[in-house]
Protein backbone atom coordinates (compact mmCIF):
# COMPACT_ATOMS: atom_id res chain seq x y z
CA UNK A 1 0.00 0.00 0.00
CA UNK A 2 1.23 3.49 -0.86
CA UNK A 3 0.62 6.45 1.41
CA UNK A 4 0.60 10.09 0.38
CA UNK A 5 0.90 12.68 3.15
CA UNK A 6 -0.08 16.21 2.13
CA UNK A 7 1.95 18.82 3.93
CA UNK A 8 1.59 22.53 4.13
CA UNK A 9 4.30 24.98 5.18
CA UNK A 10 3.11 27.45 7.81
CA UNK A 11 4.65 30.12 10.06
CA UNK A 12 5.95 28.79 13.37
CA UNK A 13 3.23 28.98 16.03
CA UNK A 14 5.03 31.64 18.06
CA UNK A 15 5.28 33.99 15.06
CA UNK A 16 4.04 37.49 15.69
CA UNK A 17 1.45 38.02 12.96
CA UNK A 18 1.94 41.33 11.15
CA UNK A 19 0.71 42.72 7.86
CA UNK A 20 2.10 45.11 5.27
CA UNK A 21 0.58 47.58 2.81
CA UNK A 22 -2.36 48.64 4.92
CA UNK A 23 -3.19 45.11 6.13
CA UNK A 24 -3.36 43.65 2.66
CA UNK A 25 -0.45 41.19 2.85
CA UNK A 26 1.00 38.92 5.51
CA UNK A 27 4.46 40.14 6.51
CA UNK A 28 6.81 37.17 6.10
CA UNK A 29 9.89 39.07 7.34
CA UNK A 30 11.76 36.96 9.86
CA UNK A 31 9.16 34.18 9.82
CA UNK A 32 10.33 30.66 10.69
CA UNK A 33 8.52 28.12 8.51
CA UNK A 34 7.45 24.73 9.83
CA UNK A 35 5.38 21.74 8.74
CA UNK A 36 1.76 22.41 9.65
CA UNK A 37 1.40 20.69 13.07
CA UNK A 38 -1.56 18.49 12.00
CA UNK A 39 0.24 17.40 8.82
CA UNK A 40 3.22 16.52 11.00
CA UNK A 41 0.96 14.26 13.09
CA UNK A 42 -0.26 12.62 9.86
CA UNK A 43 3.32 12.00 8.76
CA UNK A 44 4.25 10.62 12.19
CA UNK A 45 1.40 8.12 11.99
CA UNK A 46 2.34 7.15 8.42
CA UNK A 47 5.91 6.41 9.59
CA UNK A 48 4.65 4.28 12.50
CA UNK A 49 2.49 2.31 10.07
CA UNK A 50 5.39 1.66 7.72
CA UNK A 51 7.48 0.39 10.63
CA UNK A 52 4.83 -2.23 11.38
CA UNK A 53 5.40 -4.99 8.77
CA UNK A 54 1.87 -6.35 9.25
CA UNK A 55 0.46 -3.19 7.67
CA UNK A 56 2.41 -3.76 4.40
CA UNK A 57 3.11 -0.10 3.67
CA UNK A 58 5.30 0.07 0.62
CA UNK A 59 6.19 3.77 0.58
CA UNK A 60 5.41 7.17 2.02
CA UNK A 61 5.37 10.16 -0.29
CA UNK A 62 4.89 13.72 0.86
CA UNK A 63 3.32 16.32 -1.42
CA UNK A 64 3.17 20.06 -1.06
CA UNK A 65 1.87 22.89 -3.19
CA UNK A 66 4.30 25.79 -2.94
CA UNK A 67 7.33 27.64 -4.22
CA UNK A 68 10.96 26.62 -3.69
CA UNK A 69 10.73 28.30 -0.27
CA UNK A 70 8.88 25.20 0.99
CA UNK A 71 11.82 22.88 0.21
CA UNK A 72 13.37 23.04 3.70
CA UNK A 73 10.12 21.71 5.24
CA UNK A 74 9.93 19.02 2.56
CA UNK A 75 13.53 18.01 3.35
CA UNK A 76 12.60 17.83 7.01
CA UNK A 77 9.75 15.45 6.17
CA UNK A 78 12.23 13.31 4.21
CA UNK A 79 14.72 13.50 7.08
CA UNK A 80 12.24 12.06 9.55
CA UNK A 81 11.48 9.17 7.23
CA UNK A 82 9.30 9.90 4.17
CA UNK A 83 10.67 8.08 1.11
CA UNK A 84 10.15 10.69 -1.56
CA UNK A 85 8.46 14.00 -2.20
CA UNK A 86 6.53 15.94 -4.80
CA UNK A 87 6.50 19.71 -4.90
CA UNK A 88 3.87 21.28 -7.13
CA UNK A 89 5.51 24.49 -8.13
CA UNK A 90 2.85 27.14 -7.57
CA UNK A 91 1.40 29.22 -4.74
CA UNK A 92 -1.46 27.50 -2.87
CA UNK A 93 -3.87 30.31 -3.78
CA UNK A 94 -6.99 28.80 -2.22
CA UNK A 95 -8.16 25.39 -0.99
CA UNK A 96 -9.94 24.50 -4.25
CA UNK A 97 -6.89 25.27 -6.37
CA UNK A 98 -4.54 23.46 -3.96
CA UNK A 99 -6.71 20.35 -3.64
CA UNK A 100 -7.13 20.22 -7.43
CA UNK A 101 -3.34 20.15 -7.86
CA UNK A 102 -2.87 17.32 -5.35
CA UNK A 103 -5.80 15.33 -6.79
CA UNK A 104 -4.11 15.52 -10.19
CA UNK A 105 -0.92 13.99 -8.72
CA UNK A 106 -2.91 11.21 -7.02
CA UNK A 107 -4.51 10.33 -10.38
CA UNK A 108 -1.06 10.04 -11.95
CA UNK A 109 0.59 8.03 -9.19
CA UNK A 110 -2.15 5.89 -7.61
CA UNK A 111 -1.86 6.25 -3.87
CA UNK A 112 -4.03 4.09 -1.60
CA UNK A 113 -4.18 6.19 1.54
CA UNK A 114 -4.05 9.97 1.29
CA UNK A 115 -3.49 11.66 4.65
CA UNK A 116 -4.12 15.32 5.38
CA UNK A 117 -4.14 17.32 8.60
CA UNK A 118 -7.58 18.54 9.59
CA UNK A 119 -6.59 22.17 9.11
CA UNK A 120 -3.57 24.38 8.62
CA UNK A 121 -2.50 26.74 11.35
CA UNK A 122 -2.24 29.72 8.98
CA UNK A 123 -5.49 29.84 7.05
CA UNK A 124 -7.41 27.38 9.27
CA UNK A 125 -9.50 26.37 6.27
CA UNK A 126 -10.18 22.67 7.06
CA UNK A 127 -10.95 22.11 3.40
CA UNK A 128 -8.16 20.59 1.33
CA UNK A 129 -8.57 16.95 2.47
CA UNK A 130 -12.30 16.71 1.74
CA UNK A 131 -11.83 18.51 -1.56
CA UNK A 132 -9.14 16.08 -2.76
CA UNK A 133 -11.54 13.20 -2.03
CA UNK A 134 -14.38 14.82 -3.98
CA UNK A 135 -12.13 15.64 -6.95
CA UNK A 136 -11.21 11.94 -7.04
CA UNK A 137 -14.71 10.72 -6.10
CA UNK A 138 -13.31 8.54 -3.33
CA UNK A 139 -14.35 8.23 0.34
CA UNK A 140 -13.04 10.59 3.00
CA UNK A 141 -13.17 10.24 6.75
CA UNK A 142 -12.76 13.39 8.81
CA UNK A 143 -11.57 13.83 12.42
CA UNK A 144 -9.62 10.56 12.28
CA UNK A 145 -7.91 9.78 15.58
CA UNK A 146 -6.69 6.26 14.75
CA UNK A 147 -5.72 4.55 11.49
CA UNK A 148 -4.64 0.92 11.04
CA UNK A 149 -4.32 -1.67 8.32
CA UNK A 150 -5.57 -5.00 9.70
CA UNK A 151 -5.83 -8.08 7.45
CA UNK A 152 -5.87 -5.82 4.39
CA UNK A 153 -8.79 -3.85 5.83
CA UNK A 154 -8.44 -0.19 6.68
CA UNK A 155 -9.86 0.46 10.13
CA UNK A 156 -10.22 4.02 11.31
CA UNK A 157 -11.60 5.71 14.37
CA UNK A 158 -13.18 9.10 14.04
CA UNK A 159 -14.27 11.40 16.82
CA UNK A 160 -17.93 12.36 16.84
CA UNK A 161 -19.77 14.69 19.23
CA UNK A 162 -19.54 13.04 22.63
CA UNK A 163 -17.78 9.88 21.51
CA UNK A 164 -16.14 7.98 18.70
CA UNK A 165 -16.95 5.65 15.83
CA UNK A 166 -14.95 2.79 14.39
CA UNK A 167 -15.20 2.39 10.63
CA UNK A 168 -13.91 0.19 7.85
CA UNK A 169 -13.08 2.02 4.64
CA UNK A 170 -12.28 0.98 1.09
CA UNK A 171 -9.09 2.23 -0.55
CA UNK A 172 -8.25 4.59 -2.05
CA UNK A 173 -9.50 7.05 0.53
CA UNK A 174 -8.57 10.30 2.25
CA UNK A 175 -7.92 10.27 6.00
CA UNK A 176 -8.30 13.75 7.47
CA UNK A 177 -6.45 13.41 10.74
CA UNK A 178 -6.50 15.24 14.03
CA UNK A 179 -5.25 15.02 17.58
CA UNK A 180 -4.86 11.47 18.84
CA UNK A 181 -3.56 9.99 15.56
CA UNK A 182 0.00 10.30 16.89
CA UNK A 183 1.62 11.90 19.90
CA UNK A 184 5.05 13.44 19.70
CA UNK A 185 6.24 14.43 16.23
CA UNK A 186 9.71 13.14 15.36
CA UNK A 187 12.86 15.19 15.35
CA UNK A 188 15.23 14.62 12.42
CA UNK A 189 18.47 12.86 13.36
CA UNK A 190 21.78 13.65 11.66
CA UNK A 191 21.67 10.37 9.71
CA UNK A 192 18.15 11.20 8.51
CA UNK A 193 19.21 14.67 7.43
CA UNK A 194 22.12 13.22 5.44
CA UNK A 195 19.88 10.60 3.83
CA UNK A 196 17.22 13.17 2.99
CA UNK A 197 19.65 14.88 0.61
CA UNK A 198 19.70 11.75 -1.55
CA UNK A 199 15.97 11.11 -1.53
CA UNK A 200 13.95 12.03 -4.64
CA UNK A 201 12.20 15.40 -4.52
CA UNK A 202 10.29 15.78 -7.74
CA UNK A 203 9.22 19.22 -8.86
CA UNK A 204 6.14 19.28 -11.10
CA UNK A 205 4.30 22.14 -12.79
CA UNK A 206 0.71 22.96 -11.82
CA UNK A 207 -2.33 22.10 -13.90
CA UNK A 208 -5.01 24.58 -14.90
CA UNK A 209 -7.45 25.02 -12.03
CA UNK A 210 -9.92 27.79 -11.12
CA UNK A 211 -9.64 29.88 -7.95
CA UNK A 212 -12.85 30.26 -5.95
CA UNK A 213 -11.86 32.57 -3.09
CA UNK A 214 -9.39 35.42 -2.73
CA UNK A 215 -8.12 37.33 0.23
CA UNK A 216 -9.54 40.83 0.48
CA UNK A 217 -7.32 41.99 3.36
CA UNK A 218 -6.69 41.35 7.04
CA UNK A 219 -7.70 42.87 10.34
CA UNK A 220 -5.67 42.67 13.50
CA UNK A 221 -7.38 41.64 16.74
CA UNK A 222 -7.78 44.58 19.13
CA UNK A 223 -5.83 44.25 22.39
CA UNK A 224 -7.76 43.00 25.40
CA UNK A 225 -8.40 45.16 28.46
CA UNK A 226 -5.98 44.31 31.28
CA UNK A 227 -6.86 41.34 33.49
CA UNK A 228 -8.71 42.19 36.72
CA UNK A 229 -6.76 40.55 39.52
CA UNK A 230 -8.69 39.15 42.46
CA UNK A 231 -7.23 38.22 45.81
CA UNK A 232 -7.22 34.44 46.39
CA UNK A 233 -8.81 35.14 49.75
CA UNK A 234 -11.81 36.80 48.10
CA UNK A 235 -13.26 34.23 45.72
CA UNK A 236 -16.72 35.54 46.61
CA UNK A 237 -15.81 38.73 44.73
CA UNK A 238 -14.79 36.71 41.66
CA UNK A 239 -18.12 34.89 41.63
CA UNK A 240 -19.99 38.19 42.05
CA UNK A 241 -18.11 39.71 39.11
CA UNK A 242 -18.81 36.69 36.93
CA UNK A 243 -22.46 36.90 37.85
CA UNK A 244 -23.13 40.63 37.79
CA UNK A 245 -20.44 42.20 35.63
CA UNK A 246 -19.56 39.56 33.04
CA UNK A 247 -23.01 37.90 33.34
CA UNK A 248 -21.72 34.48 32.40
CA UNK A 249 -22.92 32.35 35.31
Amino acid sequence: MKILVCISTVPDTTTKIKFTENNSNFDTTGVQWIINPWDELALTRALQMKEDPSMSIESITVATVGSALTEPTIRKALAIGADNAIRINTEPVDAYYTAGQIAHQVRQKNFDIIMCGIESSDHNGSSVGGMIAEFLEIPSVSAVSSLKVENNCINVTRDIDGGREELTVQVPFVAIVQKGIAKEPRIPAMRGIMMARQKPLEMVQPVEMPVMTTNAGYETIPAKAPCKMIDPGDIRLLVQLLQNEARVI
Partner: protein, 323 residues
Amino acid sequence: MSVLVFTENWDGKFKKLSFELVTYAADLAGLLGTTVTAVSLGKVEKDELQKLSVYGASRIIEIVDNALLTLDNQIYTNILGDTAEKEQASVLILSNNSTGKAIAPRLGVRLKAGIVSGVIGLPVSVDPFIVRKKVFSGKAIARMEIKSPLKILMLAQNSYELKKAERQAVIETLKSELPAGSAKTLVNKVEKQAGKIILTDAEIVVSGGRGMKSPSNWGPLEELAGVLGAALACSRPVSDEGWRPHEEHTGQTGKIIAPNLYMAFGISGAIQHLAGVSSSKVIVAINNDKNAPIFEAADYGVVGDAMKVIPELIKEIRTVKGQ
Protein backbone atom coordinates in the same frame (compact mmCIF):
# COMPACT_ATOMS: atom_id res chain seq x y z
CA MET B 1 -32.10 31.87 -5.25
CA SER B 2 -32.71 30.92 -1.64
CA VAL B 3 -30.31 30.62 1.26
CA LEU B 4 -30.04 26.94 2.09
CA VAL B 5 -28.98 25.88 5.57
CA PHE B 6 -28.06 22.35 6.59
CA THR B 7 -29.42 21.66 10.06
CA GLU B 8 -27.87 18.53 11.46
CA ASN B 9 -29.72 16.66 14.21
CA TRP B 10 -28.44 14.64 17.14
CA ASP B 11 -30.66 11.60 17.75
CA GLY B 12 -33.61 13.49 16.26
CA LYS B 13 -33.01 16.72 18.19
CA PHE B 14 -31.60 20.09 17.23
CA LYS B 15 -29.40 22.14 19.49
CA LYS B 16 -28.31 25.72 19.97
CA LEU B 17 -25.91 25.62 17.05
CA SER B 18 -28.76 24.61 14.71
CA PHE B 19 -30.73 27.68 15.76
CA GLU B 20 -27.64 29.90 15.44
CA LEU B 21 -27.28 28.66 11.86
CA VAL B 22 -30.92 29.39 11.02
CA THR B 23 -30.82 32.84 12.66
CA TYR B 24 -27.69 33.66 10.68
CA ALA B 25 -29.24 32.30 7.47
CA ALA B 26 -32.37 34.42 8.03
CA ASP B 27 -30.35 37.62 8.53
CA LEU B 28 -28.24 36.84 5.46
CA ALA B 29 -31.38 36.08 3.42
CA GLY B 30 -32.69 39.49 4.52
CA LEU B 31 -29.57 41.15 3.07
CA LEU B 32 -29.98 39.23 -0.19
CA GLY B 33 -33.76 39.76 -0.43
CA THR B 34 -34.57 36.06 -0.32
CA THR B 35 -35.77 33.40 2.13
CA VAL B 36 -34.32 30.51 4.11
CA THR B 37 -34.82 26.85 3.36
CA ALA B 38 -33.54 24.44 6.00
CA VAL B 39 -32.51 20.91 5.04
CA SER B 40 -32.73 18.15 7.61
CA LEU B 41 -31.36 14.68 6.93
CA GLY B 42 -32.69 11.72 8.90
CA LYS B 43 -35.68 11.21 11.16
CA VAL B 44 -36.82 14.28 13.14
CA GLU B 45 -40.33 14.75 14.56
CA LYS B 46 -42.49 17.50 13.01
CA ASP B 47 -42.67 19.66 16.14
CA GLU B 48 -38.88 19.54 16.43
CA LEU B 49 -38.58 20.56 12.76
CA GLN B 50 -40.97 23.48 13.34
CA LYS B 51 -38.49 24.86 15.89
CA LEU B 52 -36.34 25.87 12.91
CA SER B 53 -39.11 28.16 11.70
CA VAL B 54 -39.08 30.00 15.02
CA TYR B 55 -35.60 31.29 14.07
CA GLY B 56 -36.53 32.20 10.53
CA ALA B 57 -36.75 29.19 8.20
CA SER B 58 -39.64 29.59 5.72
CA ARG B 59 -39.33 26.13 4.25
CA ILE B 60 -38.01 22.93 5.69
CA ILE B 61 -37.01 20.03 3.51
CA GLU B 62 -36.62 16.76 5.34
CA ILE B 63 -35.03 13.77 3.71
CA VAL B 64 -35.41 10.47 5.50
CA ASP B 65 -33.45 7.37 4.59
CA ASN B 66 -31.82 4.65 6.66
CA ALA B 67 -28.54 5.32 4.86
CA LEU B 68 -28.46 8.72 6.61
CA LEU B 69 -28.23 7.26 10.09
CA THR B 70 -24.45 7.36 9.97
CA LEU B 71 -22.35 10.02 8.35
CA ASP B 72 -21.00 8.78 5.03
CA ASN B 73 -19.38 11.89 3.61
CA GLN B 74 -20.11 10.96 -0.01
CA ILE B 75 -23.80 10.18 0.59
CA TYR B 76 -24.34 13.38 2.57
CA THR B 77 -22.54 15.36 -0.12
CA ASN B 78 -24.63 13.84 -2.90
CA ILE B 79 -27.93 14.52 -1.14
CA LEU B 80 -27.09 18.05 -0.06
CA GLY B 81 -25.52 18.78 -3.46
CA ASP B 82 -28.63 17.60 -5.31
CA THR B 83 -30.83 19.68 -3.02
CA ALA B 84 -28.71 22.82 -3.47
CA GLU B 85 -28.89 22.40 -7.24
CA LYS B 86 -32.63 21.74 -7.27
CA GLU B 87 -33.27 24.73 -5.03
CA GLN B 88 -30.89 26.92 -7.05
CA ALA B 89 -29.40 28.06 -3.76
CA SER B 90 -27.22 31.14 -3.84
CA VAL B 91 -25.68 30.49 -0.43
CA LEU B 92 -25.31 27.19 1.41
CA ILE B 93 -24.63 27.39 5.14
CA LEU B 94 -23.22 24.66 7.38
CA SER B 95 -21.73 24.66 10.85
CA ASN B 96 -17.97 24.79 11.28
CA ASN B 97 -18.33 21.69 13.48
CA SER B 98 -17.01 18.22 12.69
CA THR B 99 -19.88 17.33 10.34
CA GLY B 100 -19.55 20.64 8.50
CA LYS B 101 -15.82 20.13 8.10
CA ALA B 102 -16.44 16.60 6.81
CA ILE B 103 -18.88 17.53 4.05
CA ALA B 104 -18.60 21.24 3.14
CA PRO B 105 -15.27 20.85 1.29
CA ARG B 106 -16.70 17.99 -0.77
CA LEU B 107 -19.75 20.12 -1.57
CA GLY B 108 -17.44 22.92 -2.66
CA VAL B 109 -15.89 20.71 -5.33
CA ARG B 110 -19.13 19.08 -6.38
CA LEU B 111 -20.97 22.38 -6.74
CA LYS B 112 -17.91 24.36 -7.94
CA ALA B 113 -18.48 26.76 -5.09
CA GLY B 114 -16.05 28.80 -3.03
CA ILE B 115 -15.99 27.97 0.68
CA VAL B 116 -15.10 30.02 3.70
CA SER B 117 -14.83 28.11 6.95
CA GLY B 118 -15.06 29.55 10.46
CA VAL B 119 -17.10 32.55 9.31
CA ILE B 120 -17.67 34.98 12.22
CA GLY B 121 -20.50 37.25 11.09
CA LEU B 122 -22.66 38.55 8.27
CA PRO B 123 -20.86 39.50 5.04
CA VAL B 124 -19.19 42.91 5.11
CA SER B 125 -20.40 43.24 1.53
CA VAL B 126 -22.64 41.05 -0.65
CA ASP B 127 -21.38 42.26 -4.03
CA PRO B 128 -18.52 41.45 -4.05
CA PHE B 129 -19.36 38.77 -1.49
CA ILE B 130 -16.91 39.22 1.40
CA VAL B 131 -17.03 37.52 4.79
CA ARG B 132 -14.70 37.58 7.80
CA LYS B 133 -12.99 34.62 9.43
CA LYS B 134 -10.27 34.10 12.03
CA VAL B 135 -6.87 33.07 10.67
CA PHE B 136 -3.41 32.32 12.08
CA SER B 137 -5.09 30.33 14.87
CA GLY B 138 -7.06 33.30 16.15
CA LYS B 139 -4.28 35.89 15.89
CA ALA B 140 -5.89 37.85 13.03
CA ILE B 141 -9.02 38.13 10.92
CA ALA B 142 -9.06 37.72 7.13
CA ARG B 143 -11.64 39.14 4.77
CA MET B 144 -12.38 36.50 2.17
CA GLU B 145 -14.06 37.19 -1.14
CA ILE B 146 -15.99 34.32 -2.73
CA LYS B 147 -16.02 34.59 -6.51
CA SER B 148 -18.25 31.67 -7.49
CA PRO B 149 -22.03 32.12 -8.08
CA LEU B 150 -22.84 29.69 -5.25
CA LYS B 151 -21.19 30.42 -1.93
CA ILE B 152 -20.63 27.96 0.92
CA LEU B 153 -20.19 29.32 4.43
CA MET B 154 -19.24 27.36 7.54
CA LEU B 155 -20.35 29.37 10.54
CA ALA B 156 -18.13 29.36 13.64
CA GLN B 157 -19.93 27.99 16.69
CA ASN B 158 -21.21 30.42 19.33
CA SER B 159 -20.46 33.39 17.09
CA TYR B 160 -24.00 34.54 16.29
CA GLU B 161 -26.76 35.71 18.66
CA LEU B 162 -30.02 33.77 18.50
CA LYS B 163 -33.01 35.80 17.35
CA LYS B 164 -36.58 34.65 17.00
CA ALA B 165 -38.55 35.42 13.87
CA GLU B 166 -41.71 33.45 14.79
CA ARG B 167 -42.58 32.09 11.39
CA GLN B 168 -44.53 28.99 10.45
CA ALA B 169 -42.64 26.97 7.92
CA VAL B 170 -43.86 24.57 5.28
CA ILE B 171 -42.37 21.14 5.77
CA GLU B 172 -41.72 19.05 2.69
CA THR B 173 -40.76 15.44 3.12
CA LEU B 174 -38.69 14.01 0.30
CA LYS B 175 -37.74 10.45 -0.34
CA SER B 176 -34.11 9.98 -1.12
CA GLU B 177 -33.20 7.96 -4.16
CA LEU B 178 -30.15 6.31 -2.66
CA PRO B 179 -29.32 2.94 -4.08
CA ALA B 180 -28.98 0.38 -1.29
CA GLY B 181 -25.46 -0.32 -0.11
CA SER B 182 -23.98 2.80 -1.65
CA ALA B 183 -21.92 3.73 1.41
CA LYS B 184 -18.20 3.15 1.00
CA THR B 185 -17.56 3.59 4.69
CA LEU B 186 -18.96 1.08 7.13
CA VAL B 187 -19.48 1.97 10.77
CA ASN B 188 -18.70 -1.05 12.96
CA LYS B 189 -19.01 0.41 16.40
CA VAL B 190 -20.22 3.59 18.08
CA GLU B 191 -19.17 4.64 21.56
CA LYS B 192 -21.04 7.58 22.98
CA GLN B 193 -21.38 8.92 26.48
CA ALA B 194 -25.03 9.81 26.98
CA GLY B 195 -25.82 13.14 28.60
CA LYS B 196 -22.25 14.40 28.39
CA ILE B 197 -21.86 18.12 27.66
CA ILE B 198 -19.98 18.39 24.38
CA LEU B 199 -16.89 20.54 24.71
CA THR B 200 -17.44 22.50 21.49
CA ASP B 201 -21.11 23.18 22.40
CA ALA B 202 -20.55 24.11 26.03
CA GLU B 203 -21.34 27.64 27.22
CA ILE B 204 -18.99 27.19 30.18
CA VAL B 205 -15.73 25.24 30.09
CA VAL B 206 -13.60 24.32 33.10
CA SER B 207 -10.05 23.41 32.14
CA GLY B 208 -7.01 22.03 33.92
CA GLY B 209 -3.31 22.18 33.09
CA ARG B 210 -0.09 20.76 34.40
CA GLY B 211 -0.43 23.00 37.44
CA MET B 212 -3.13 20.60 38.65
CA LYS B 213 -0.13 18.38 39.45
CA SER B 214 -1.75 14.95 39.22
CA PRO B 215 -4.67 13.25 37.47
CA SER B 216 -6.02 12.36 40.91
CA ASN B 217 -6.63 16.08 41.50
CA TRP B 218 -9.37 16.22 38.85
CA GLY B 219 -12.17 15.34 41.27
CA PRO B 220 -12.71 18.92 42.46
CA LEU B 221 -12.59 20.21 38.85
CA GLU B 222 -15.26 17.69 37.87
CA GLU B 223 -17.36 18.83 40.79
CA LEU B 224 -16.98 22.47 39.77
CA ALA B 225 -17.95 21.57 36.20
CA GLY B 226 -21.03 19.81 37.58
CA VAL B 227 -22.07 22.86 39.62
CA LEU B 228 -21.67 25.16 36.61
CA GLY B 229 -23.11 22.77 34.01
CA ALA B 230 -19.74 23.06 32.29
CA ALA B 231 -17.71 20.79 30.02
CA LEU B 232 -14.20 19.73 31.00
CA ALA B 233 -11.11 20.58 28.98
CA CYS B 234 -7.36 20.34 29.48
CA SER B 235 -4.06 21.60 28.11
CA ARG B 236 -1.81 19.64 25.79
CA PRO B 237 0.69 18.28 28.36
CA VAL B 238 -2.20 16.91 30.41
CA SER B 239 -3.61 15.03 27.42
CA ASP B 240 -0.16 13.90 26.18
CA GLU B 241 0.65 12.54 29.64
CA GLY B 242 -2.59 10.57 29.48
CA TRP B 243 -4.02 12.30 32.56
CA ARG B 244 -7.11 13.15 30.52
CA PRO B 245 -8.51 11.82 27.18
CA HIS B 246 -7.31 13.56 24.01
CA GLU B 247 -10.86 14.77 23.22
CA GLU B 248 -10.50 17.23 26.08
CA HIS B 249 -7.30 18.80 24.73
CA THR B 250 -8.03 22.41 23.91
CA GLY B 251 -5.49 24.37 21.94
CA GLN B 252 -3.84 24.55 18.60
CA THR B 253 -3.77 20.88 17.67
CA GLY B 254 -6.76 20.06 19.86
CA LYS B 255 -10.24 21.53 20.03
CA ILE B 256 -10.87 25.16 19.17
CA ILE B 257 -13.63 26.45 21.42
CA ALA B 258 -15.56 29.68 21.95
CA PRO B 259 -17.60 29.35 25.16
CA ASN B 260 -19.10 32.27 27.06
CA LEU B 261 -16.87 31.46 30.03
CA TYR B 262 -13.53 29.64 30.03
CA MET B 263 -11.92 28.92 33.40
CA ALA B 264 -8.26 27.85 33.27
CA PHE B 265 -6.74 26.20 36.34
CA GLY B 266 -3.00 25.66 36.46
CA ILE B 267 -2.59 26.49 32.77
CA SER B 268 0.34 28.76 31.95
CA GLY B 269 -1.20 29.86 28.66
CA ALA B 270 1.32 28.87 25.98
CA ILE B 271 0.51 30.48 22.66
CA GLN B 272 -0.63 27.07 21.32
CA HIS B 273 -3.16 26.83 24.14
CA LEU B 274 -4.44 30.37 23.65
CA ALA B 275 -4.99 29.61 19.96
CA GLY B 276 -7.72 27.21 21.02
CA VAL B 277 -9.47 29.37 23.60
CA SER B 278 -8.91 33.01 22.65
CA SER B 279 -12.40 33.28 21.12
CA SER B 280 -13.98 32.66 24.54
CA LYS B 281 -16.09 35.63 25.61
CA VAL B 282 -14.74 35.70 29.19
CA ILE B 283 -11.56 34.01 30.40
CA VAL B 284 -10.78 33.40 34.07
CA ALA B 285 -7.27 32.25 34.99
CA ILE B 286 -6.13 30.71 38.25
CA ASN B 287 -2.39 30.15 38.41
CA ASN B 288 0.23 30.37 41.13
CA ASP B 289 2.72 32.10 38.82
CA LYS B 290 1.82 35.77 38.54
CA ASN B 291 3.92 36.05 35.36
CA ALA B 292 2.09 33.26 33.51
CA PRO B 293 1.09 34.43 30.00
CA ILE B 294 -2.48 33.25 30.61
CA PHE B 295 -3.06 36.47 32.60
CA GLU B 296 -2.47 38.51 29.43
CA ALA B 297 -5.35 36.70 27.75
CA ALA B 298 -7.62 36.57 30.81
CA ASP B 299 -10.36 38.96 31.89
CA TYR B 300 -10.22 37.91 35.56
CA GLY B 301 -7.24 36.41 37.30
CA VAL B 302 -6.36 34.89 40.65
CA VAL B 303 -2.74 34.28 41.63
CA GLY B 304 -3.08 31.28 43.88
CA ASP B 305 -3.16 27.55 44.30
CA ALA B 306 -5.87 25.99 42.12
CA MET B 307 -6.47 23.24 44.68
CA LYS B 308 -7.35 25.86 47.31
CA VAL B 309 -9.35 28.12 44.98
CA ILE B 310 -11.57 25.39 43.46
CA PRO B 311 -13.36 24.39 46.70
CA GLU B 312 -13.97 28.09 47.46
CA LEU B 313 -15.41 28.58 43.98
CA ILE B 314 -17.70 25.57 44.37
CA LYS B 315 -18.95 26.91 47.71
CA GLU B 316 -19.57 30.47 46.45
CA ILE B 317 -21.20 29.38 43.19
CA ARG B 318 -23.50 27.00 45.09
CA THR B 319 -24.51 29.94 47.27
CA VAL B 320 -25.37 32.27 44.39
CA LYS B 321 -27.16 29.50 42.53
CA GLY B 322 -29.05 28.52 45.65
CA GLN B 323 -27.95 24.88 45.34
